[in-house]
Assembly symmetry: C2
Homo-oligomer: 304 residues x 2
């Protein structure tokens, strides 16, 4: 079975919309435990304005406080050149740019047209040249937009092209509000990998409508091997109160591990870290494995 | 796209472990709304001892009170000849027998060996001969047992054979405690349909570990077209407190509808019925679509 790469986003995608500020030392400890559990990439934080995302106002402190485990890619989300400078100062391995495929979503999210977003990325790309920092291009709302509805696949292909012209090393196709169906995932991924067979493509799914792990399976069937996920399924979507957010890291690893996929991750450690996160945050997480246990956790016969 | 058959189990599998008795008139109204929403089969109730399952002590009244919509199969679970007699008296279209593939689970569930279960089914089969009532054979713990762990596929094949020798018209492969992985589902279903290409096979999944809809997709890929599901995802498993139960009917129908599968079901009606069920039971249901809405439910741009 092929190698699947697990990319953890809980401290960025999960924490940014939490109702509470997670203390800096707790973030650092969590990231270090995750790297030791063997995830391949960690989206540590966002170098955005502390006013825009107060929960991540400690971006520099977190980046400076964490252990840098060999083999783990420490990535950070950045919105502009200022963010790139902060990421470079903190020696991020990678920066993650985000533009939406949907014009409406991009305007709502970053108050720019998609064209303006890509123009601004030119400056980031110039700044990064020669720094050794990798550049990942994320396309939000790849599989659907909560304002515009369905998304034209041709537009996705065009925007991947734009990222590659800018020198992006890898691409993330993000299902920002959980609108992708398994069939759609297979079709788009087959087309993308058909055109760029060597391109490292990440799929970033939300489980908002329960299709998260089904979408992963279709992504794998189309040849994708990199998946974002959030510990405990922390995260969410402002348009779907009460619905689950990002796909859950330990649920994803559990499913793939018991199908024999090769990952670097210690599932038992992930489960423990997730249970501890639930205590830290003091609210229930949507992940299933922390409630149900692994399929190999057998019950004694005397149970009634 | 092929026709997929949606089989509703909420009033049996869902209600049997509820903390409350759902009033008979509410059960009848729910079943009638479900049949009008277009589900293909409804597992109405269980003809078991009222002491064993007090929540279903009104089995006869429910069967007599419901409308019998043409084209809908009204099935009932029965444990023995007494149950078959009750089902026949109520003119059930089908009875559903259950034996576990796992010896330990069967003993825990019905206090018999698997051999004893199948012996008792002979009497049921004799009783049913000539009545026109169809017989479905369910194999619980087909994909794993919470006591014994993994299940031998060969044993599943043997027990299907035993059901067919008894004259079963159809088979249900049940993942009683949510242990199936997508790969396992594909492999077993391919084998079963390879041997019995014309056999109507139902897959009965629980979403205990988040893999429910991924398992459905692999079942479909292997050629299965019949799926049990429970409205709102009501149900559960005594071994996994807090974990989700059966796969959720409206989440299943939502996923398949937006991939273009042909079903007979009105999704909007299902969602309304599920929201009303949440009010009736006065607790949250695990389904996602009742929280997140359909992927076509767009948001206005002025939303902040």
């Amino acid at each position: 079975m092929e190698r699947i790469f697990i990319q953890e986003v809980v401290t960025r995608d999960g924490f940014q919309i939490e109702d509470q500020f997670v203390p800096t030392d707790k973030k650092i400890a969590l990231i270090d435990r995750l790297s030791h559990a063997g995830v391949d990439k960690i989206e540590v934080t966002s170098f955005v304005s502390p006013k825009a995302v107060p929960n991540l106002r400690d971006a520099e402190e977190v980046m400076e406080g964490i252990e840098r485990k060999e083999g783990v890619t420490y990535t950070t989300l950045i919105p502009n050149v200022k963010g790139a400078e902060r990421a470079a100062f903190c020696k991020a391995d990678e920066v993650n740019l985000v533009a939406s495929v949907s014009e409406t979503h991009n305007r709502k999210n970053v108050r720019r047209t998609v064209e303006e977003s890509f123009s601004s990325f030119h400056d980031i790309s110039s700044f990064l040249a020669g720094t050794g920092i990798a550049m990942n291009g994320t396309l939000a709302t790849t599989f659907g937009c909560p304002f515009e509805g369905s998304i034209d696949e041709n537009r996705v292909m065009e925007l991947i092209d734009k990222y590659l012209e800018l020198g992006a090393d890898s691409i993330t196709l993000a299902d920002t509000t959980g609108m992708a169906t398994p069939k759609q995932v297979y079709q788009l991924c087959e087309r993308v990998l058909g055109r760029w067979p060597e391109l490292p493509v990440t799929l970033h799914f939300h489980n908002t409508r329960g299709m998260g792990l089904a979408n992963v399976m279709e992504g794998i069937r189309a040849g994708v091997t990199r998946f974002d996920a959030s510990l405990g399924g922390l995260g969410g979507c402002p348009f779907a109160p009460g619905a689950t957010g990002n796909i859950c890291t330990e649920d994803l690893v559990h499913m793939l591990a018991f199908m024999g996929y090769d990952m670097n991750v210690n599932l038992d450690q992930l489960i423990e870290i997730s249970k501890d996160l639930e205590k830290t945050l003091n609210h229930e997480l949507p992940g299933q494995i922390i409630k149900a246990g692994k399929i190999t956790d057998l019950h004694s016969i005397s149970y009634t």
